[in-house]
Symmetry: C3
Subunit: 350 residues, 3 copies
């Protein structure tokens, strides 16, 4: 798709300084731009690139004043970053073909219903007693069990598996090959050393505006529900165990695992490869650093944790510095001990 600089300026309510008829075909970072690209400048750390960029046009803040001659065309807007994001969103809407209709063969149970303007891809499977909303997109090769509810405008990407009784809200996105609602990992040890599966009768409830990455797993509750509250964003390869509850607008990065029955507060930020024990709770606004292991409940809001076991971030970083110095520390102790022995000897000699 092609746009002129003028058309783009109109869309973002900007003012053009330069060639309004130049053609834009793609977007790029200011330091990587080539002719036909549009970029933006917001953080002035990147200003030097403005004078060397290959991009045809650059969005800049109204308040921006160039310090040197600029070759590229500028579009002055209220907020360059916001305008650029808006452009990308419009571009994405236009390029991601609006999938609609039904591709055959696909399977839907006779007792299930789906709303208007929906998409069902080839080889997708929807069981019985399901209710799917308007504009829902069910990509090819997906599986949806029985008695599943999915709200309006939710997109289920290829290879996603949704088990029986799952409830998913509006405007959610679940990326490829994630599994929602398979059995929680619960086994009762028997006298003969074997384990017996504890029936997992609960479900998963996902509220509105939730995003779930690829190859992530969210187990159903043993009883009751595993709950992902509104606005939660979950990355790839994350494990959410049975009966976990994730609070509103919490963000969880890739390869993190949360054990059974743990409750994560609202607006938390959990970095990648974190492990969180079962049956604990994290207060709202908790931040957990990458690869940390959280073994105890955090009751105070807004703490930043790090390490395994995790504790207060700044204390952790201080201690880590000392771990590196341990060989030196021991040497110093050794010196003191030697000193003492010498001094003792001296004393004895007195």
């Amino acid at each position: 798709m092609e746009f002129t600089v003028g058309q783009i300026a109109q869309l973002v309510q900007g003012t053009v300084a330069g060639d309004a008829s130049a053609i834009i075909r793609s977007a790029a970072k200011i330091e990587e731009g080539t002719p036909g690209c549009i970029s933006f400048l917001s953080n002035l750390k990147y200003e030097p690139f403005l004078y060397t960029t290959g991009s045809t046009a650059v969005l800049v803040d109204e308040s921006f004043e160039p310090k040197k001659q600029v070759e590229t065309t500028l579009i002055y807007v209220k907020n360059a970053y916001t305008a650029f994001t808006l452009l990308l969103e419009e571009y994405q809407k236009a390029t991601r073909q609006a999938r609609r209709g039904i591709e055959q063969p696909c399977h839907i149970g006779q007792t299930s219903s789906i709303g208007e303007d929906a998409y069902r891809g080839a080889f997708s499977y929807i069981g019985e007693y399901c209710t799917l909303g308007n504009r829902v997109k069910i990509y090819p090769n997906t599986y949806i069990g029985n008695n599943v509810q999915i709200g309006n405008d939710t997109v289920i990407h290829p290879g996603v598996r949704i088990y029986d009784n799952t409830i998913i809200g509006n405007h959610c996105t679940i990326f490829a090959n994630s599994v929602i609602g398979s059995d929680g990992f619960g086994f009762a040890p028997q006298a003969d050393g074997t384990y017996r599966a504890i029936p997992q009768l609960g479900n998963v409830v996902i509220e509105d505006h939730v995003s779930i990455g690829s190859n992530t797993t969210i187990d159903c509750a043993t009883m009751g529900s595993t709950v992902i509250r509104s606005g939660v964003k979950i990355d790839n390869l994350v494990q959410i165990a049975h009966n976990v509850e994730i609070g509103k607008n919490t963000v969880i990065a890739a390869q993190t695992g949360i054990s059974g029955s743990t409750k994560i507060g609202e607006q938390c930020v959990i970095a990648g490869q974190v492990g969180i024990s079962g049956h604990i709770s994290l207060a709202n606004h908790t931040k957990v650093g990458a690869q940390s292991g959280v073994g105890k409940s955090i009751k105070k809001e807004g703490l930043s944790l790090s390490g395994s076991p995790a504790y207060d971030l700044s204390a952790h970083l201080r201690a880590q510095v000392h771990v590196k110095k341990l060989p030196e520390l021991e040497k110093r102790i050794q010196n003191l001990e030697n000193e003492r022995i010498r001094s003792d000897k001296n004393t004895h000699q007195l």
Copy 2:
């Protein structure tokens, strides 16, 4: 589904104290119960909830004597926890619709066979020379390669991929999107810096009563077999490399990885996010704490390990406490050193 309290009492061989005609529709924890639910009381720590629960009925041990007035109906049984589990199992059997028969379109090679009362879901694929047992369930969108054997009563959930020559026993469950038998990660470095794939000709053998979670990967052996012994329970997102052997009734939690050719003993318990090096062995009854890294063989049975590198759990916990105190320790050394300098000065002044 609905049952009366009386029907339930009959099933669990219990005695009703209260309204035997009350209707039960669901199960819940005693602290979360609502009208229509049945709960249980086993650990007396939860006894206070008995007097406030919203559940319509509660299973209690024969020996139990309430300390206050109880509003809810009680069912006295030999063992409340066991009776409750039995109820859940019966409920699960009744609600998880017994899938049977063949949904079209699905694919099965002409040289493959499948037993009685089996289920093959839509868009499932079974290659050539496969032998599948009675009551096997092959869910929609699964792939089974060539020359695969699957025993009786085994359930293959949606999106599972089973490579050629895999052997799976009876009463196994493999949850959604797990991959069994893809190539081990073996590459021979070449003189020019490239790597050449080492052919992976072995297979995976899974014995009886094994449970494998979602999005887990078990690689085939380079030669011979990767072996998962009877009764093993594996959680989600676990990695089992080529030629690994997991002993009977061992339990492995989510996101753990076991490197090539390692042998894990029987009745081990491996927590989540653990890494275990290749070509080592762990004795029977070894316990490994979450996020540990095990780099050496463990020859003594029954040890509890923790840390990365992992060592004896109690020593690890002691050391971790000290890591937090490191800044303080260094201060103390500093004090001693200052002391020495002062004392040296004094000596010199004498």
Copy 3:
């Protein structure tokens, strides 16, 4: 399949000492061989097994001279390990049935094309504007979006999901259920505490001879490309975030995660369960030990790192030894302090 020892000797240009008519059906390690197997002896550490092996024939180096009587038939070759690998490759070619042709039902967009001698399995899905090369194999139950390019001789295993605009080279293998090109994890925080998805408009570019394991995820770039250079080998359950670049011939073991915009050099070796922060770079020939966390750029080539945070391997190992000794170190400080107090008392008493 069966071969005589003589046929095998001919294939590997070797000389038989023993029964050239003996039948070989399989391959095994020398210590695990049974009649009908062929093994090899290269590392002389394994020589004792030569005199006890059950294998029917063993490949040995031309220069090898047995120290005892050998029961098994020997095949003398230039390099026993290389000859054995060649045999395995031939065996693999012969046993992995060359899949070809089209299994119905499968889906391909009218605007897409696929080369000669290709395979498209049942329930595979190929969108619009795709170009697939010769001898490409698209296994059952795979999904390929729109505008995807795949080179010659590349194999896409069952359940792989390839998003729009992905470019894959020649001779690549992507194992089951991996996801290539789903959205990078980028969200802009809003004033009301919610997050807004940042459009992910880039793609993934995979060069030639790349191998990607099972259940691995590689996200598309926000803008531009996430790039996997020629010869890279990636294991199972690995996470590669948006805009990452992996240099030529780098090897990445299972469950490792690499955060957004990080650049890994050529010929690096990253062990399992490693975490690498975003927006950093690792020099060529860097080695990173298992479970390490790399938080800073590594500019010097050829370093070996370990630990979390990772630093020079030998320093890390030294420090780890000291962590275990921490309780003892504190005791020694305590002793020194007590000593001082006593000594102070003495001084005061003087």
